[in-house]
Every structure is written in C-alpha cells, then in structure tokens.
C-alpha cells in the first residue's frame, strides 16, 4: 500500500504521547555543569568594568578573552559582525558579556556579576536610525508612467509588530568535551549552521560535532540563535573540561533571542476605473536590530512577496532593513512575507473600496494567472493557482452572500489572497548544494539527512517518500538522528524546503537504490552483499535564472497559494475582536501526509491569528517589557476558532510526488484576512496586532 497521500502513523508519535521522548533539558551527562549568561542591562554603550561579587570557588568564568587562539569572536552567519561575547561595545540590551558555570544550579543563580558601563544614546526607531543593514530594489516597467496613466491612486501605510516564537520548549543546548573538541546536543533547527558558527569560534581544524536532540518547536526561532548558545556552552565546556548545559528560562528566551522583524510598509497603487492595477509602488522598512544576522534574507523574501499575487506591469519595490539598538530580529515562519503580504492584502481591500468594487471581483481581475510575470519578472506556469484558491474559498464560505448578510451586525468577514515561494531564493538552492543519503540496514533502509524534526513531521514525510520510491513498507524506513558527523549537509530546515527540496533528493536516492537492489528486498540485498549507500546532491531546475544585483528573474522554483477567509465578531463594549470561523484554502502541490499537512495549516493559522490580534511585544528601553507567557499572550483553545481546511491538489513536477513547500504559507493569510474582516465592520485598522486598544483608538479617531 502506498504511504504517500495517506496519514500514516508519525514516526515520533508514541514517544511524544507517552513522555518518553528526551529533549535537551531531559539529558544529563556525567559531571555536567550548568551554564548561565550574564547580559548587558543597557541598550548601547561601553563596558568599563566587571566585578565578581561572589566567592568564585568552583565556578568557571568566561569572557571574550577565553575565545581560542585559532578562533574568532564572531557568530559566523551572513556577516561577521556579531560577537559571541561583548569585548567592549554594547549594541543592545541582553547582549552576552560574561559566562558562568557551576555544578550546582542554585549557587550559579545566586552569583552576582556587576558590570559598569559608559552609556551612549541608543537608536530605537528604524525609520530614523539612518543605518541601513541591507537594502534592495525591484523594478519592473515604469512605475511613474503607470501612475500617470492611472485613474485613481490609493496610498496607505501598514505596520506590524515584533512577534515572539513561543516554541513551548525554550532554547537550550549541552556542550560535551569530546575527541579534543566539542559535541553539542541541543534544541536546534539547523545543525550545520551551528557547526559553521563553532568553526569560527574554535578554528577550522577543531573537532566539532552537532547533534539535534528532539526539539520542542522552532518556527524559525531555533534557526540562528542556537549558534550563539552553543558557542557559549562550548567556551564553558572547553575551559572547565566538563559538559555544560545551558537552558534558558522563558524570560531569558523572550528577552534575549530573536523575534519577527517589525515592519512599516507604504503602498501607492495606481488603478484604472475598470479595476486593473497599472502601477504598484511599495516601500518597506524592517527593524533589523543591532546585528545583521538574517535580516538581508528577510528583507529579500519580504520584498519579493510585497506586490502580492497580482499582475502589474509597472512595479517598484524598495526595501531596507535598518539598524536599531535592540536584540537582533531573525527568522520566523514566513520570513518577511507575512509582514509584506499583510500590508498588500490590507491595502488591496482599500483600493477595491476606493473603486467601489467588490474585493473578490477586484482580486479576480488582478490575480496572477499562468503566463503572467511576477514583480521580479518570473513567468508563472501551470503551478500558479491564485484564482483556484480564491474561487474555492469564496464558494466554500458563500463569501459574497455572507458579507451582505453580516453588514450592520457585530460580525465582519474578510479574505486574503497570498502566495509563498518555496525553498531558498533565486540561486540560493544551487549555492546550498544540499545532500541526502540513504543506507541499507539489515531490515530496510535508513535516511541520513540534516533536516530536523521540529514537530512539523520531517521524519514521517521523508520516510513516506522513500518507502514509496523504493516500493517498500513505510515501517521499514528509519530516520537517523541529525548528527553532523553522520549525516550529510542537507541545508537548513527553513524556507519550506524540507519536503520539496530534501524530499526530492531522497526520492532520487531511493529510485537509484531500488535500481541497484534489482529484485531483492533491502534485507535480502544486505544479507547477500552487505552495506550499500546512495548519496545525492540537489539539482535545482535548470531553467532557474536569477540576478542578485538587479533582483530579477526566477525568485523561487515554485510558489504555494492560499486564500483565507476570517469571520470575526467585535464586542462593542470592549473593542475585543474574536475570530469565530476560519476557512483556509491552500494549494501546495500535493499533501504527502494529509493529517500532518492539515496540522501545519491549522497551527500556522493559529499563530497567524495571534500575530493579527493578540501577540504584542512591549518594548521599553530597548528590551521586551512583557517577557512572560502571562503578559505575552498567544492563542489558547478559547482564542482559536473552528477551522475549515481545504487542500487543493496541483502536483508540481520538480517536487517529490508533486509536493511544493508548505510550512510557511499558512501564516501569511490570517492577519490580512482578519484586518479585512475588521474593515468590513467599518473600522479602519492598519496595524497589527489589532489589540482592543488599537481597535479602540481607530474607533475613537473616527
């Protein structure tokens, strides 16, 4: 029986449901110490003195001078600007300065380190900071000529706030001295990112092994920051000669680690009276925080998605990631696209309104179709499903009739149309050159990839692809724990690429393995001939052409498409808006595992509803002032509505069994759908989270 397309039992299900699965904090190593990070309490300045106000007996104390001679004080990622430990200059609150380790956690926590500073005036406003971390420009046609031709020009500014990942397992790693170097066991999305970062810390020749332990959620939040924590644990382990465990508590995790970039997006759109969009001018500012980290890639994906899934011959997109003296913002599911898609989809409803057009009619007229070109000039083919998802969502919710019926009540209904590019941008996948490996075992076959299981179903979905490609039972496929000494580098587990890209490599490995086995089963072959391995490298579609300088060409190998419909209810006394019904129609090629795919959509939708309505990071003096789960509120069971999830099939030829990427798509739609539903209540909110205070202010200013 084929495994693909059926909801087989997930590989890690029973371990998780019985509590037997071990996460980083569940592991204990002999003679292990606990580590603690002493952080800056100012947003900008210089360290002038460090005082240790405790009995240092039994403590391991590390500062930047303990970095190995062969290494550098740099968390290697895109730019070499972020140090593991402050040398002198402090650029944000909660920046690591000193590390402590001790066998007894209580003694460790009681230690007081006093740091003296010379303060400098911090920059908190990304619009006025003046320091650009990365800028980009996308140009198609002539936007000014398009504006001149337009009958109507509609402008608007849209804002999104920080968003905290709130994986329920906070960040944590253990560094263990091994083979004269270090082994990291931790809650990690990208083991080879950690390896690269530790190479910069310890020198290229150092022994470094990175093992991903079971990970309690990531959502992008464990993409880059674990490199920092791993470096800290490593320094303590190298100096003490003991294993060192660093587990953040919730407050430290919220204050110190990355968040979704806040954004300010300005739109100017020229339309003809008949509804055709003739010019789109988009300006994006995102707050990068104090170091570059992944901001260039976030502004890139944000910029590419900024014009929305619409045809327009004259488009100009400008994007800037700006420096501020706040903890660096980083990867978060969607990676810039949720911000810019929120802006464009909220704006599109206002453009339709300016023309007195129905928002569905307006989108039908302008939505991208096969043969159209995107803002970067990519020609779309049959994998473009904008109209299909829109029409199905409208049909399924009886949108037009419902919109009419709700008029004048306390309920509003709105929709959002969106798309999400799968995999790394442009030539990124070619540069990554990801690898995957299959190895025969005495009973079947083992998958060796660095793609991590962070809840989304990596192991299960990869095993399904391999099982069917080899024609063997799903149960005969096992998945190795990601360990950089054992698995090849399959690229990071990000960017909705784990199924489409790594799954595709595995499919090719499995096909070759099947050929080499001939008529033998894996067990028979193993018994007769012994071990057999097949390693393959990703081959991106040859037609992809991308120019990094002009930001033009084929931005992604393919796109997934979605249309979300939100029905909300407002309490006119309290200005609370609650989602009461949510419909998500999404096309991502083919669902390898329908139940897991549905879970991605439901979970991404809930996270998107939190982004839209509840999740507000309060920044004070450059730091998160509400850093607790009491005061940063994610949706509970009573904040999430009944969801109707519809998955449309449209197999993609270069994906395994037709699959595209799915992980990020579901978080793009909820915020604009909700804001448009609020707009349907005649309340003009252009900012999220649309907390009751924001809705109140919008009502009060009317």
């Amino acid at each position: 029986m084929p495994a693909v397309g059926t909801s087989v039992v997930r590989k890690d299900g029973i371990g998780k449901a019985t509590g037997r699965t071990k996460y980083a904090d569940d592991l204990v190593f002999p003679d292990m110490l606990h580590g603690r990070t002493i952080r800056s309490t100012i947003a900008r300045g210089r360290v002038t003195g460090i005082r240790y106000d405790f009995d240092t007996t039994g403590f391991t104390i590390v500062d930047w001078r303990d970095i190995p001679a062969a290494g550098r004080n740099v968390v290697a990622l895109l730019e070499d600007d972020q140090p593991y430990l402050v040398e002198q200059e402090v650029l944000h609150l909660a920046e690591p300065i000193v590390l402590l380790a001790h066998a007894d956690r209580e003694t460790l926590n009681a230690a007081t380190v006093v740091i003296e500073y010379e303060r400098e005036e911090p920059l908190f406003d990304p619009e006025t900071s003046g320091i650009i971390l990365k800028s980009l420009g996308i140009d198609k046609g002539n936007v000014e000529a398009g504006m001149l031709e337009a009958d109507v020009i509609v402008e608007g500014t849209y804002r999104t706030g920080h968003q905290e990942h709130v994986y329920i397992e906070p960040n944590g790693v253990i560094a263990v001295p091994e083979e004269g170097g270090i082994a990291i066991h931790g809650s990690i999305q990208c083991p080879f990112y950690v390896e690269k970062a530790l190479k910069s810390l310890m020198g290229d020749d150092a022994y470094i092994r990175v093992v991903q332990t079971e990970t309690g959620g990531g959502f992008g939040g464990k993409e880059e920051y674990p490199s920092m924590i791993s470096g800290h644990a490593t320094l303590l382990a190298l100096k003490s000669g003991h294993p060192v465990k660093i587990i953040y508590d919730r407050t430290e995790d919220m204050v110190a680690t990355t968040k979704r970039h806040p954004s300010i997006v300005r739109h100017r759109t020229g339309v003809m009276k008949d509804g055709r969009i003739v010019a789109m001018d988009v300006d994006i500012v995102i707050d990068g925080g104090a170091y570059v980290t992944l901001s260039p890639v976030v502004i890139s994906r944000g910029g590419i998605h900024a014009a929305g899934p619409y045809r327009c011959d004259n488009t100009r997109i400008r994007g800037r990631a700006m420096f501020t003296n706040t903890p660096p913002n980083g990867a978060f599911r969607g990676f810039g696209a949720p911000q810019t898609l929120f802006a464009v989809e909220a704006h599109i409803d206002r453009v339709a309104e300016a023309l007195e057009m129905d928002p569905v009619d307006f989108r039908e007229l302008n939505a991208l179709r096969p043969g159209d070109t995107t803002a970067t000039g990519q020609i779309l083919t049959g994998d473009c499903s904008a109209l299909d998802v829109l029409r199905e969502a409208v049909r399924r919710t009886d949108f037009r009739a419902r919109r009419e019926a709700l008029r004048g009540t306390n309920r509003g209904i709105g929709l959002a149309l969106f798309y999400h590019g799968a995999g790394f941008t442009g030539s990124g996948e070619l540069r990554l050159a990801s690898k995957a490996k299959l190895a025969l075992t005495p009973t079947g076959v083992r998958i060796l990839v660095s793609s991590t299981e962070i809840g989304q179903g990596t192991r299960t979905m990869h095993a399904q692809i391999v099982a069917d490609s080899m024609g063997i039972p799903y149960e005969d496929v096992e998945v190795a724990q990601p360990d950089t000494k054992k698995v090849p580098d399959s690229g990071p587990t990000v960017a909705s690429r784990t199924c489409m890209v790594v799954g595709r490599i595995l499919q090719r490995c499995a096909t070759e393995m099947r050929e080499r086995l001939g008529n033998l089963t894996p067990a028979e072959y193993f018994a007769r001939h012994g071990a057999l391995e097949v390693l393959k490298e990703h081959e991106p579609p040859a037609w992809i052409q991308w120019n990094d300088d002009t930001y033009s060409g084929d931005a992604y190998a393919t796109y997934a498409w979605g249309c979300d419909v939100a029905e909300v209810e407002i309490d006119r006394d309290t200005y609370e808006v609650r989602p009461v019904k949510f419909t998500a129609v999404q096309e991502f090629g083919k669902a390898i595992h329908p139940a897991l795919a549905k879970g991605q959509i439901e979970g991404g939708t809930a996270q998107g509803l939190g982004f839209a309505l509840l999740e507000r990071v309060v920044m004070r003096d450059g730091g998160m002032a509400n850093a607790s789960l009491t005061n940063y509120t994610i949706p509970t069971t009573l904040d999430t509505p009944e969801m109707d999830i519809v998955i449309l099939d449209n197999p993609y030829e270069d994906g395994p069994f037709g699959a595209k990427g799915l992980g990020e798509l579901p978080i793009d739609g909820p915020a604009p759908a909700v804001i448009n539903a609020i707009r349907h209540l005649a309340i003009d909110v252009r900012e999220i989270p649309a907390t009751p205070e924001i809705v109140y202010a919008a009502c009060a200013s009317r």
Binding site: G19, Y167, F219, D249, R250, Q456, G603, S628, T637, T640
Partner: protein
C-alpha cells in the same frame, strides 16, 4: 517526604519548597513532565494530584506529601489517548503533549467540544492550533464508548 507516585510509594529527600516539577524530573527521573514557562501559564508541567490536574511548577513538593501524584509515565504506554494523539497528529513537537494528555484523561466522557476547549484552556500548544488535539480526544472517546 513520602507520596504515591504513579501508584508506587515514593520517598524523596528534596527541600520542601522544591517545585514538584523539579523533584519529578531530577530526583524521580521522570522527564515526561516539561517546563515551558515556570509561571503556571502553559500547562506543559501538568500532573494529577489525587486525580486533579495541577501545574507542577507552582506546587511545593511538601504539598504532595501523602497524596497520589500521577505523571504522564503513570498512564503507561498503551493508553487510548496516547494512541489517538499519535494517530491524529495531536502531537507535533510533543512538548505540550504530556500535559494535554493528562488533562484530557480527566475530561468526562459526556463533555461537548466546547467543554473540551474550556478544559484545555490552561494548556498552550504552539504547533497544532488545537484542532488535531480535539480530534484525538474525540476519537479516543468514540473508541472507548
């Protein structure tokens, strides 16, 4: 201090103000109980005391003295809820799952979907949007009905 842990008499040497959570994880080596927030907000550390769900990060071990404590390990490996959480993909990253399963085990068989939502309002999940969790609980009840 003595209490009954998953049906067996247990004695622990911890400080009486130790969090039950830490005693279970570190002294009793039962790591199925997870810490997500340390302030009683996320429910990942839920255990049952005398059959009643509580968050073990807010319970001094002294207050467990003489009581029956049930952790996820106490449900064994073959509880219908565990199978349905697995089959319905009610567990994604799995860190909230032990707490969810324990609370679900106390929900009366005649509870409506709304009742289930109310009962689980003290357990945060960031992966599933809760829908698959409801499906798992409903399926488990159908199976045992």
């Amino acid at each position: 201090m003595r209490f009954t842990l998953n049906g067996a008499a247990t004695e622990v040497a911890a400080h009486p103000m130790s969090r039950l959570l830490d005693v279970l994880r570190e002294e009793c080596n039962l790591t199925g109980t997870k810490e997500g927030c340390g302030e009683g907000e996320c429910g990942a550390c839920t255990v049952l005391i005398d059959g009643v769900p509580v968050v073990s990060c807010l319970v001094p071990v002294a207050q467990a003295e003489g009581h029956e404590v049930t952790t996820i390990e106490g449900l064994g490996d073959d509880h219908p809820l565990q199978h349905h959480f697995m089959n319905e993909a009610g567990a994604q990253c799995g860190i909230c799952t032990p707490g969810m399963v324990l609370v679900a085990s106390t929900i009366p068989a005649d509870a409506s979907l709304d009742d289930i939502r109310v009962a689980l309002a003290g357990n945060l999940c960031r992966c599933t949007g809760y829908e698959a969790i409801y499906r798992a609980i409903m399926k488990a009840r159908e199976a045992t009905a």
